[in-house]
């Protein structure tokens, strides 16, 4: 494997981890808003997951940016210029969301209003983040005075943007509902678990359909990726199989009579995401932004790359026990999960 391939693979891993963790995090915030009055137990489970984990999830976002700048500094140059406005909006929403989550737990008086802000912003952020995909495919960029600029008018009036945003939001909600269903069962609250399970049952096929729609609304300049994706049809097929397994598992009856093999379902759907995003990434290679910016052109120098690899290796090994402790304390320990 060449340096650039290794680097883009590591970056892909980070993007993948953040897309899963971020979806669950933002989605949990949204469900906690929706159910704060109607189903306090369901909101409570969402909060119990969210409270200790949002900071850690947020660090993964920073990790993404740092890894991009470190591995592909010239790509950071182009992307920084192109994405100024959409990413700035994400930042505004992120600041709002995190601040209001903390406020809403500190001030009981206006709790609902504060929760609505954190819930709605949590819905918008993944939508905006996913809008990076159609931009990276080309068709919305023109050069002015030798610098790439984003064509907002064209972007905002294109169907593919909205298909992508819809896809981002639906997968966020599907994944988080599925996860919370499993988390609810772990916490011993079967009612909440079934509640989230039924949401996942509705949202799963919708998210899948939206992914297909996003592919077929591509602008002419981005059609190259549709052709490339067809070359990866084996991977996409596997991903659909993984989805089918995960979705069917929602109906498997467990020995104790509970409906849905939820753990299997969560694992299979995450596997589906991995397969589909891997296939998409392969089709996207070697372009970071089509057609001007390739991974080769964006890559850093060899000595920096080697130092970075050591850094990531060391950091992971040192922090692994902390992650395991964290996972045990907040996702496994019944004393935390079952406090009423």
């Amino acid at each position: 494997m060449s340096d650039t391939q290794l680097a883009i693979t590591i970056l892909w891993c980070f993007i993948f981890i953040y897309s899963i963790a971020g979806s669950i995090d933002f989605g949990a915030g949204f469900w906690s808003m929706v159910f704060s009055r109607r189903n306090p137990h369901a909101a409570d489970i969402a909060n119990r997951f969210l409270s200790p984990s949002w900071e850690v999830t947020n660090v993964f976002l920073v990790l993404l940016v740092v890894a991009l700048v470190g591995f592909f500094p010239r790509a950071a140059y182009v992307l920084g210029t192109l994405l100024l406005v959409p990413v700035s909006l994400v930042l505004v929403l992120l600041l709002f969301r995190s601040a209001f989550i903390v406020y809403s737990y500190s001030v009981q008086k206006h709790e609902l209003a504060l929760r609505i802000v954190s819930g709605v912003t949590g819905l918008l952020i993944p939508g905006l983040l996913v809008s990076v995909l159609p931009i990276s495919l080309g068709g919305f960029i023109h050069m002015s005075q030798g610098f790439p600029q984003l064509e907002f008018g064209k972007l905002l009036t294109s169907a593919t943007l909205y298909a992508h945003v819809g896809f981002g939001i639906l997968t966020e909600l599907f994944l988080s509902a599925l996860f919370l269903s499993d988390y609810g069962r772990e916490a011993g609250d079967e009612q909440v678990s079934q509640h989230y399970r039924s949401i996942a049952v509705v949202l799963g096929p919708l998210a899948l359909a939206m992914a297909v729609l996003a592919t077929f609304t591509m602008v002419p300049e981005a059609l190259w990726i549709v052709a490339r994706m067809q070359e990866q049809s084996l991977w996409f097929l596997l991903s659909v199989v993984a989805f089918a397994i995960g979705y069917d598992a929602l109906w498997i009856r467990r020995k104790n009579g509970r409906k849905g093999w939820l753990r299997l379902s969560v694992v299979a759907v995450i596997l589906q995401f991995a397969l589909a995003s891997y296939a998409y990434g392969r089709a996207h290679m070697p372009y970071i932004v089509h057609p001007d910016l390739t991974v080769e052109a964006g890559f850093t120098n060899h000595s920096m790359f080697v130092s970075l690899l050591w850094g990531y290796g060391f950091g992971t090994v040192i922090l692994l026990p902390a992650f395991i402790l964290f996972w045990w304390l907040f996702l496994k320990d019944k004393r935390y999960l079952r406090t009423k």
């Binding site: 900071e55 500094p73 990413v87 700035s88 130092s307 935390y336």
Partner: protein
Amino acid sequence: MDNVMLARSLFGSSMAFHIIFATLGVGIPFMIVIAEILYQVKKDKDYATLAKRWTKGLAILLGVAIPSGTLVGVMLSLLWPGFMEIVGQVIALPFQIEIWAFFLEALFMSIYVYAADRLPPTLRILSVIFVAIGSSMSAVLITDAHAWMNTPSGFRMENGRVFDVHPWAAVFNPSLPTTAMHVLLSAYMTGAFAVASVAAYKLLKRGSSERERSYHQKSLFLGLLIGGIISLMTALSGHETAQMLHEHQPEKLAAAEGLFETQAYAPLAIGGVSDKETRSIKGAIEIPWALSFLAGNRFDTVVKGLNDFPEDQWPPLIIHTLFNVMVGIGTLLILASAFTIGLRLLTKRPYPRWLLAGPLSMIGIETGWVFSCTGRQPWTIYHMQTTASAATKAQHLGSLFVLFLGLYVFLLIVTAVVMYYYFKRHPVTFDGVEGVNGEGRSL
């Protein structure tokens, strides 16, 4: 305003906002560690209560500090793509290591807040120590990138391209030790004075019980003692920083001190305004020989003046005033805490008038940081890359600037209101300490 000025304004205001929360996010965990240890040593439950309440305040502050830190981190790439292109090739390591420090802080902060009652005391103290280590490491590593901008090393530039990269040489650039120490100490000092200010404010109120007064007095004394000691250390490290400037960034030192003529036995100018026209400083109190001594520990040290540098490479002369404010506040804080503690030891009655120590040290931090970055102008990377060539060419900066500025003002107000109401609604209680999160609700 042109694009470069807009980019600087937007980034500057974002940093000015973030730095408030970031500094407290480094300083307060340090105080919590001290309170937790004192609790174990003295077995006085008041210290556990202090740790618990500071943690709650810290949690609210981190709700803004963490996303605003994310914001400035991402904004670096958005507003300074030319700069980040070089950063990525030369000084990516501190940013990358900082991620692990950030993880350490976030993981153990959650563990300390939400799992304290499930952990044995040693693990509980260990987790808050990890939080403090994580946040301090973050501060040092980000300061490393800043230090590298002032004294770039570990690479060679030719025709705008980067060659011969030595990542670790860039990390250990000449100004790292002094700058990092100064930033770290001033953050601890601000954390200590911030809790002292809160305690002093509480003591000013009438009608509080004897029990409450003794609790707040412990907090005030602890804050003043630690703040006082560290402000002295901050001053010493500031002196080292000035000597570092003398060696590596002479025009910055010259502008900071308002010195135009290169000379031995150079005087130290306090106050006054540097005048570009006459190339002299007006209205300043001058202490003969003092600057030479400060710069090189000898009165015959030759200190370079601004006249030795081309005028288009001068830093803005206003930094003389910023420098004076920073140093003035530092001096005031040392005197104030020494005086108050002295008074307490003599008369056994603390005077809670120094509640301005917290806000003052925050102003000191802000001016110090503006001084350091403005004093580097017109360079982003000293003598390597100008700010103008680092800035983005993207449009829409003006409207973003207005949007973000409004957001910062709004969040500053809301955060203050939330803090005020939270602590008003949850007054200090002394009936036992049940875990750090013993206030009934999860965060």
